[in-house]
């Protein structure tokens, strides 16, 4: 089954966190099995921004952030970018009563592409479950 990775899942692989080992094990499986990976453009913006936050906090260096971006672009992820993605994201956010449409972009990709959403975010996982979208919580 195709997988939509969210930014938390990517970041946990790239930077050391308590969930890194779990994320790493799953990334290895996905990549070695050549599982199709699909994500919204938001993934790249969020990963970049959070890497910058890590660097600004002194946890990692600027060189680490650049290396992580190079790694990100070597992961064979198909970017889903269409009007229907954003329309679906708005619809999902509205149904969930969310005032923002960040999480819903990942959910929209998973929903429209028929893939499973992989995340470390319990809130996003719960929302996906409520919308009947296949999701996996990595902990």
């Amino acid at each position: 089954m195709a997988v939509c990775p969210d930014a938390s899942f990517v970041l946990a692989w790239f930077v050391p966190t308590s969930a890194s080992q779990a994320a790493s094990d799953i990334w290895r499986q996905l990549l070695r099995r050549s599982e199709p990976l699909i994500a919204p453009p938001l993934l790249y913006a969020e990963v970049t921004s959070v890497l910058r936050r890590y660097a600004a906090s002194g946890a990692i260096t600027g060189a680490d952030t650049l290396a992580a971006i190079r790694h990100l672009f070597r992961i064979p992820i198909a970017v889903s970018h269409s009007q229907s993605l954003y329309e679906r994201a708005l619809e999902l956010a509205e149904r969930l009563g969310q005032s923002r449409a960040y999480d819903s972009q990942y959910m929209a990709v998973a929903d429209l592409e028929g893939c499973a959403l992989f995340t470390l975010d319990q809130g996003l996982y719960n929302s996906a479950q409520r919308m009947g979208i296949t999701a996996r919580l990595i902990a």
């Binding site: 050391p16 890194s20 050549s34 969020e46 680490d64 290396a67 790694h71 070597r74």
Partner: protein, 124 residues
């Protein structure tokens, strides 16, 4: 057809074709055109093995130009092997990079990416 023993450092056209993933006819054409170095002994061409390493043949191989099924399968296997090798390299590099960051942090890896993402979104 039996193969005549070739000169030293030379290989048969069939062997050159296999290594280059080109047809035998294409290799013969390269020989006639002088793109490949070789020697004709009687009715049989031999290819100078060293000339296979020349850039034009090392880098211009195009699986899409292959015509035979065997060559196509070989090309697919080749590209799959390359893709797998790239993935293994990526995995190694990502994990080495993360471990290095972890060492610099002195094992303090208690940073929640979910909280970082949330804070990032809140500040937008």
């Amino acid at each position: 057809m039996s193969e005549t023993a070739g000169p030293e450092g030379a290989i048969s056209v069939a062997e050159a074709a296999r290594r280059m993933r080109r047809s035998i006819e294409q290799v013969r054409r390269y020989l006639r055109e002088g793109k490949l170095k070789g020697e004709r002994i009687g009715q049989q061409w031999f290819v100078d093995e060293a000339s296979l390493g020349e850039p034009v043949f090392r880098y211009k191989r195009s699986p899409a130009r292959s015509t035979g099924q065997v060559r196509e399968v070989a090309a697919i296997m080749d590209s799959e092997a390359i893709a797998k090798s790239r993935i293994e390299t990526l995995i190694r590099e990502v994990e080495a990079s993360r471990e290095e960051m972890g060492r610099r942090l002195g094992g303090n890896v208690d940073i929640s990416v979910v909280e970082m993402l949330q804070a990032d979104r809140d500040e937008r």
